[in-house]
Symmetry: C2
Subunit: 605 residues, 2 copies
């Protein structure tokens, strides 16, 4: 099915397909040959999905759009302060070809006017055996995600007619903004402007900037993350010649246009837009490009200052240890204790990008909860990324709460581990699964409440096993005499998925883990059972195949209840059978209650 | 406990507390009296939480900061196009007091220079019996959330020495930018600059703009939402005099400073910052204010172009109808059918703010899923707000999928109802609870799979009731003879929370709803049971008190199993007791399996 978004872009294209205002650039003969009917619109998301319509694969020269990107290379080569000492970042209020140099220093007002762009080209280093222009073309190619080339006839045309730019070059040399005679720098600049791109390239270049500098398709870094906001900053204030103020006012997207008819616009962190239509308006911006961007910004609500597109609190879900418990089985009375004291363990599931704004409400809530709990678990598994300020605030929270006896614990995916360590969060406070984190807090809480470990002293007498707790002494003796014992070594598989369930086991010592295979061939733990509990009763009861593996975690001793023996009780000892069935029903019902509590906790919103 | 965020703001304050560079404004005697040591920092979130340190409650005059806000009033009074015809929005590259008027039209370059601000004051209407300045003070008070007043001695001082501004006023009159002689407009302007605010006011004013124009504490609208981005736009390009470009480059927050020593900065959609420190740098901006904002922006990563602070896909959770089912009980075989065909119902739980960027991946996923399902449910309950483009795209998705036989359904909170209707989503596709939405899809799917309704034809014979399905004919006859029948009218309460469970019921006709009381005194449905099912067996089994109410939805006929009778079976008919217990255990175990499936679906991330 055609996506409604693709449909929208197509409608937008038709809306302006016959609009032919403005004039193709004619200051050099090569540009004046452009077909004014060419028209492409392209939107690229930061994960590299592209919506495109019209002449989005038609090559044209990048022209001034290169100024914004090459400025990034200058920053990478020379550092921010050096570049700022040569080229300002103030809008000049003048046209692109004005020779706006600051009184005294001779520094161009900003890198988006020709003087600033030529000065910027002069900052590019020759490196690794490559000339300036080779490095520039390679750099621009990194944004596009493909090898770009120079249109030689446009370059020759630019170079032959670039008298004014040569004058600018010599003025810059005069002021010492250029360290050497300007010829090579000027040729670099003329070639840089003559690099051929398509409308699709522009959108992907924008998406690369939106994606913190990583090209979405090649997954390679095109620009250092730290300079992304600088490039966007100059695009925002100076990108559209002397229409920049009105552009930000109306369209609200950092952008750069070129006289070849291209416009590259970026919604920071979100998407890139490329427009191609050669006829220019009187400020030198693509006439249709401006119209399309104004419509796009308004109709898709892309204005950067539009406050509907803002991050919210990172809290996805908040619950406590009485609602959601670790996936291990606990004895009934332990389960009850945990449910009664569950609010002492508070869990906040965080999501999305962690920034000051999204973490601030989290810190606020945690600060207030800390008065009445002993453990705060931050589940970071749904966190997509986290900037350092957010992690520092979480680390500080832990440091400040420790003296109050409140422990802050993190459950996190491997990818955040280095970042968490870097901000000084102790290794011991970081868990890799929620089960491990919850278990840790539960054990600590139960120890505090009861003064002793909930784990049974083993081996247990049968009467201490849950299934048999309502049996009479005579029944216990009967069970002792009838039920065979079995032993498993640690690591041994007790039950295999898919097997027919012909028995259930009652453990008198040891621990077992219930596991299911996952998509990536590892095994996921779904339960842990300890001495006193019944193993494998679900499939045993409903006659279905085993739905999970059970593996001994250590040496395990158990009694075996076979289906034949259990069936035989109907005749031989119906009272015992009834007692056992009632206990099993009771136990499963209790687990169902807990499961329903968890579902309610997960389900509320 | 002191929040780590409060602690950070305090540290930042100490860092600059002794820094005393720059000079207090002295162009009028009143301003020169300001104590250069005064220093306040305040951050206000868009929900009105305030972090403040230092002299945040000390009054000072708002000065040029008023220009940004009063521009909003001019837009509200006259509309965007009219205001733009009188006052441009281009940065001038010149100092604040330059007389930058466009050649020809005489329009000031932008509303942040004095000429533009005086022209803006001239746009304010006298209305509702109020003078211009009364309306201006009221307007500014709306942002602060308290009644502001004019500092009369500063006003007199401004008026007595404002010769240059008077010259500007007459030039504007000369060009017809002002429609009347400038005296009253100038006095309005001088008074507007003399309104007293505090650092805290500035932060809350900023938070108001961040909050789409709603003052976070009073919850009243201070500025029409449609003009918020315009005000932010001129702040971004022209707010910091001739340091605006460098400000956006380095700090990246739309802001406005005043010679009184204040700076108001906004992270659009997120928070407001107020700084107060009277000594100014050579551009006329608060020297410490600039330094603090540079640190704040870098250390809290608040740069507007910083891409970590961006919205992500709105998809919170995706699951299908085999994993999560409506909270009503289904007969076992129906449950199995649903589990087998569950992928035909796809559910996407959306969250946060819906914008083009957050909805685009949703549309993309839905478009691809539509090839292999019959129902797509969008659960909108966790959606905080939705702009119209996002809803239009969802509506278009429904329209396009209908001919393919795929139904798009919405579960939404009441607050989105009007918005959903406005974009043309049919009433029949909107459900208010997920249960209702799931039930609708489940019924439709089951009908399609089996060709008949799954609902039992009633009244049922006992043998057709789940609990009795494994009973022999003799046992059925025994049950018929022993179990009393009971009748309930629709609306009658069958079980009340807290009661002791002395019986369970097997329904032969009718429907009942299981409800729990909620915090706001309404009742929440947690289950619906139909004929053939057992009611109240959980508490009956484990001897606990009833945990929910059960209410007849229509006329209900059932047989009653009392605890005494059930117990008596141990002796009188142990075989039947065993059969019944086994069936109950089987049923509860099956529900536990489904619950565990749901938990896994909710828990993955």
């Amino acid at each position: 099915m055609l996506s409604p978004i693709q449909e929208y872009v197509e409608q937008l294209h038709s809306r302006y397909a016959s609009s032919m205002e403005g004039h193709v650039a004619d200051y050099i003969p090569e540009l004046s040959k452009a077909d004014p009917r060419l028209f492409g619109i392209c939107i690229a998301t930061r994960d590299g999905h592209v919506y495109e319509v019209g002449d989005t694969r038609h090559p044209f020269t990048i022209q001034s759009i290169s100024k914004a990107l090459v400025y990034g290379l200058a920053l990478e080569d020379r550092g921010e302060e050096h570049v700022l000492s040569r080229i300002g970042v103030e809008p000049s209020g003048e046209a692109f070809n004005a020779i706006s140099l600051r009184e005294g220093s001779g520094a161009p007002f900003n890198p988006m006017i020709n003087a600033g762009a030529i000065a910027t080209a002069g900052q590019i280093l020759k490196k690794d055996g490559k000339s300036r222009i080779e490095r520039v073309v390679e750099y621009l190619s990194g944004f596009a995600g493909r090898d770009l080339t120079i249109n030689q006839s446009v370059y020759r045309s630019e170079s032959e007619t670039g008298h004014r730019n040569r004058a600018i070059g010599w003025l810059l040399r005069n002021f010492g903004i250029l360290d050497e005679d300007p010829d090579e720098t000027l040729e670099t600049y003329f070639q840089q402007c003559s690099v051929e791109v398509t409308c699709r390239d522009l959108a992907l270049m924008g998406a690369t900037i939106a994606n913190q500098g990583i090209q979405p398709l090649t997954r390679k870094r095109a620009i250092a993350a730290e300079y992304v906001d600088n490039v966007l900053g100059v695009m925002a204030t100076c990108g559209m010649y002397d229409w920049s103020g009105e552009w930000i006012y109306r369209v609200g997207l950092p952008a750069k246009s070129g006289v070849g008819g291209g416009i590259l616009a970026v919604l920071p962190g979100q998407l890139g837009i490329g427009i191609f239509s050669p006829p220019l308006d009187k400020q030198g911006n693509s006439d249709r490009g401006i119209k399309v961007c104004m419509d796009l910004s308004r109709e898709l609500a892309l204005h950067m200052m539009n406050p509907t597109a803002t991050p919210r609190s990172a809290i996805r879900l908040k619950y406590h240890g009485g609602e959601v418990v670790s996936r291990r089985r606990l004895p009934p009375q332990t389960r009850d204790l945990l449910r009664a004291n569950g609010t002492m363990i508070q869990v906040m599931e965080l999501q999305g990008g962690l920034t000051f704004t999204t973490i601030e409400p989290v810190i606020r809530l945690a600060t207030s909860l800390s008065a009445e709990c002993r453990h705060i678990i931050f589940d970071l598994r749904a966190v997509v990324n986290a900037n350092s300020v957010s992690l520092i605030l979480l680390a500080n929270l832990g440091t400040r709460l420790a003296p109050q006896g409140v422990r802050v614990i993190f459950c996190q995916p491997a990818r955040l581990m280095t970042a968490l360590r870097t901000v000084g969060i102790p290794e011991a406070d970081i868990f890799t699964t929620m089960d491990a984190a919850l278990e840790h807090c539960e054990d600590s809480l139960l120890l505090e409440v009861t003064g002793a470990s909930w784990r049974p002293h083993v081996p247990l007498h049968l009467k201490s096993c849950t299934l048999f707790r309502n049996c009479s002494d005579a029944e216990i003796a009967f069970l002792e005499s009838e039920l065979p014992r079995r032993h498993y070594e640690g690591g041994q598989t007790i039950i295999s998925t898919g097997d027919l369930a012909t028995e259930m086991l009652v453990m008198v010592s040891g621990n077992v883990e219930v596991q299911i295979p996952t998509e990536n061939l590892t095994r996921k733990r779904i339960d842990v059972l300890t001495a006193g509990m019944t193993v494998g009763e679900m499939a045993f009861l409903d006659g279905s195949a085993r739905s999970a593996d059970v593996v001994a975690l250590e040496s395990v001793e158990c009694v075996v209840i076979s289906k034949a023996w259990f069936d035989s009780l109907n005749e031989r000892n119906p009272a015992l059978k009834i007692t056992l069935l009632q206990e099993m029903t009771h136990e499963i019902a209790s687990r169902l209650r807990q499961a329903n509590l968890s579902i309610s906790a997960f389900h509320r919103s």
